[in-house]
């Protein structure tokens, strides 16, 4: 089996080098390679495989055997979820959808030959390449911090072990100790994420360490759902949370992971836990593929194709697409539009007009859920916002509880939509 397959790939590659490529591709089973099995990549792979009924050969490259969602990782910190409930396997995508799941890192893209190089040495040809590698951090964006310090000062902004580490550190805080967060500058994944995290850490501390304090150094003037969070913090965690915005030096900070200090505007404060969330950029492979411009990969709104290379699509956090926030919901929504367009381009199936939506739920305390959402459309220039809503301050406890229940349903829905 595998021998035949390699022969077949080799033969096609040799042919396409000499013949007019479209001719060859029309005869062979078109190949889609997806890099990154997260909210964008897993959804795109699943929809292309599902809807093309075997007409397209789909390969998904993802180093991890289990995907730990970042969404709901804050609820794990707060004690509302077990870590295992955040893990999802790629088994169904391979078994039920016929997706070739390769657990490896993509380390190079040859855009002329249309191949992806894997760390293990393999080279995979593609007709369309979909990149959804999430985020990486901008070097030097937080003075004193680099990836080698992520154990002393975790970011917990990629799923799995970092989240567990952060929780263990919160649990080990001395009585009355300080949890510090260095919040990221815009744009970053999950705009309400840091503030939901503060809420969940506060919830945990209120139970196990009620005299502890939370200190946020924030370079942003304002943040997502600010009114809702501040109202919730004042109600549920009075006096516990202090946020230092840019007007008070929140943008002028450095950390010392050895001494465990956070310096704001020249003044060093000893802290017990320091959650450093650095500035973000597209996952490194997007840069390696040469489809980034600055920190992000610009894409066309109608099909998420790269503005630099039309055979490459970039989804989710890595994409500079316009008005959508970087969220799992957005990545999932973009993936379905992209899958429809890629299928149309490769098999001639009907391409329906792009439509996108997003809703981000956040939990502030037990049964106190809020949400913000919007719909989007594709314009020539970008993905543009059409209409939206946000939870209101002063909503009833019933509505807040219903909103939280709805978020649990969403979690089940989106993970089923990603992994089958």
């Amino acid at each position: 089996m595998s021998f035949d397959r390699r022969q077949f790939i080799g033969a096609t590659a040799a042919l396409s080098a000499t013949l007019a490529a479209p001719m060859v591709r029309a005869q062979a089973r078109p190949r889609v390679v997806v890099v990154g099995g997260g909210a964008g990549g897993a959804t795109a792979a699943r929809y292309i495989a599902k809807d093309s009924d075997g007409a397209i050969d789909v390969t998904l490259i993802e180093p991890s055997r289990a995907y730990y969602t970042c969404f709901f990782s804050n609820l794990y910190l707060g004690g509302f979820r077990e870590i295992d409930s955040l893990a999802h396997s790629y088994g169904t995508l391979a078994a039920d959808y016929g997706i070739n799941v390769v657990h490896d890192w993509a380390v190079g893209v040859d855009r002329d030959a249309k191949t992806v190089a894997l760390a293990g040495g393999a080279s995979l040809p593609y007709d369309r390449l979909i990149l959804s590698p999430g985020i990486d951090f901008v070097d030097g964006s937080v003075a004193g911090w680099d990836l080698s310090a992520q154990n002393a000062m975790p970011h917990a902004y990629k799923g799995g072990s970092q989240t567990e580490l952060l929780k263990a550190q919160v649990m080990a805080m001395p009585e009355g100790g300080t949890f510090a967060m260095v919040a990221p500058p815009n744009p970053y994944r999950c705009p309400p994420g840091p503030y939901e995290r503060v809420s969940m850490v506060a919830h945990l501390l209120k139970e196990v360490n009620p005299t502890a304090k939370i200190l946020i150094a924030d370079p942003k003037e304002a943040f997502s759902k600010q009114g809702l969070f501040e109202e919730g913090w004042a109600t549920h965690y009075p006096g516990m949370i202090e946020r230092v915005g840019p007007e008070m030096g929140g943008a002028d900070i450095s950390v010392d992971p050895q001494a465990m200090t956070l310096t704001i505007d020249g003044e060093a404060t000893p802290v017990d836990v320091c959650n450093v969330i650095p500035a973000m950029k597209a996952g490194r492979i997007a840069e390696i593929a040469g489809v980034t411009d600055g920190n992000w990969a610009p894409v066309n709104a109608a099909d998420l194709s790269s503005k630099i290379d039309p055979s490459i699509h970039v989804l989710g956090d890595s994409a500079a697409q316009g008005d959508m926030p970087k969220s799992g919901f957005s990545a999932n929504s973009q993936a379905k539009v992209c899958a429809n367009a890629v299928r149309g381009a490769l098999t001639g199936s009907t391409v329906f007009p792009a439509r996108f939506s997003n809703t981000c739920w956040s939990l502030i305390d037990t049964d106190d859920g809020v949400k913000v959402g919007a719909t989007y459309e594709a314009t020539e220039e970008k993905i543009a916002r059409v209409d939206g809503f946000i939870s209101q301050t002063g909503e009833s406890a019933e509505l807040r509880a219903a909103t939280y229940q709805e978020s649990i349903g969403w979690y089940d829905g989106i993970t089923a939509d990603m992994f089958g």
Binding site: K336, S357, G373, D387, G409, W410, D412, A416, D417
Partner: protein, 234 residues
């Protein structure tokens, strides 16, 4: 002299309300209203400061000193409908004919073409559009109660395209899945119930904001397409 003409205007635009292009009462999205009325609400709000001495936007804001009636739910409202207000004979005449305020009639009224000398004229074409856009957005009637909205049989009968429905349903699948509890499963709902529910969300007769938002941009045909798809997978 002018009245017959005016009645004609109203007869063509007002009488067949539901089908009239110029009065889609289901519109609640300010941007769509702005597109339909051809104005900008923000500009209209500024202009409306010249109107507010005489007109309140909502019944609860009306003051006895105001010379004009409140404008609550003005679009689609019967002419001369505010109780206890001393309307001019011209307006009373229109009322007797069963006329209803809608965009063209209001535009003509502000222009001084409809019942000249009964209402101050707003000279600029764009100013009139801006004011009407603002008033329409600011005086939207409260949404119908759930169960009150009746989807017309011809809308229920639209034959949806299941292939398009399958694509549209991918937006639903981000939250709804078969058999799940916290967000209700929708794949096995009765077709008419499903269609009615989507129309209720679109008309804001149901409260979930996420669903209102999703439904707001679905056309009758798209709702039918979704229903056709879900029926096809049963």
């Amino acid at each position: 002299m002018r009245l017959p003409v005016l009645s004609a205007v109203l007869a063509c635009c007002g009488a067949s309300l539901a089908m009239s292009q110029s009065l889609d009462l289901t519109l609640t999205d300010p941007d769509q209203i702005a597109a339909e009325c051809g104005g900008t609400a923000a500009a209209g709000e500024v202009l409306f400061t010249s109107c507010s001495a005489c007109h309140a936007l909502q019944p609860e804001d009306a003051r006895p000193t105001q010379a004009g009636p409140h404008l609550g739910a003005l679009f689609g409202r019967e002419v001369a409908a505010v109780d206890g207000y001393a309307y001019s004979p011209g307006l009373r005449q229109l009322q007797a004919e069963g006329a209803i305020w809608e965009r063209e009639a209001l535009h003509a009224y502000l222009q001084g073409d409809l019942l000249p000398d009964t209402h101050p004229v707003v000279a600029g074409e764009q100013d009139r559009r801006d004011i009407l856009t603002f008033v329409r957005v600011a005086t939207l009637p409260p949404p119908p109660a759930r169960g009150e909205l009746v989807v017309p049989p011809e809308v229920l009968a639209i034959e949806g395209d299941p292939a398009y429905g399958e694509y549209l349903a991918s937006e639903c699948a981000g939250c709804h899945r078969s058999g799940s509890g916290n967000v209700p499963a929708i794949d096995l709902l009765d077709g008419e119930y499903f269609i009615t529910a989507m129309h209720e969300y679109r008309a804001r007769a149901r409260t979930n904001e996420t669903m209102r938002l999703i439904a707001a941009r679905l056309t009758d045909e798209e709702i039918a397409a979704l229903a056709a798809y879900y029926l096809s997978i049963e």
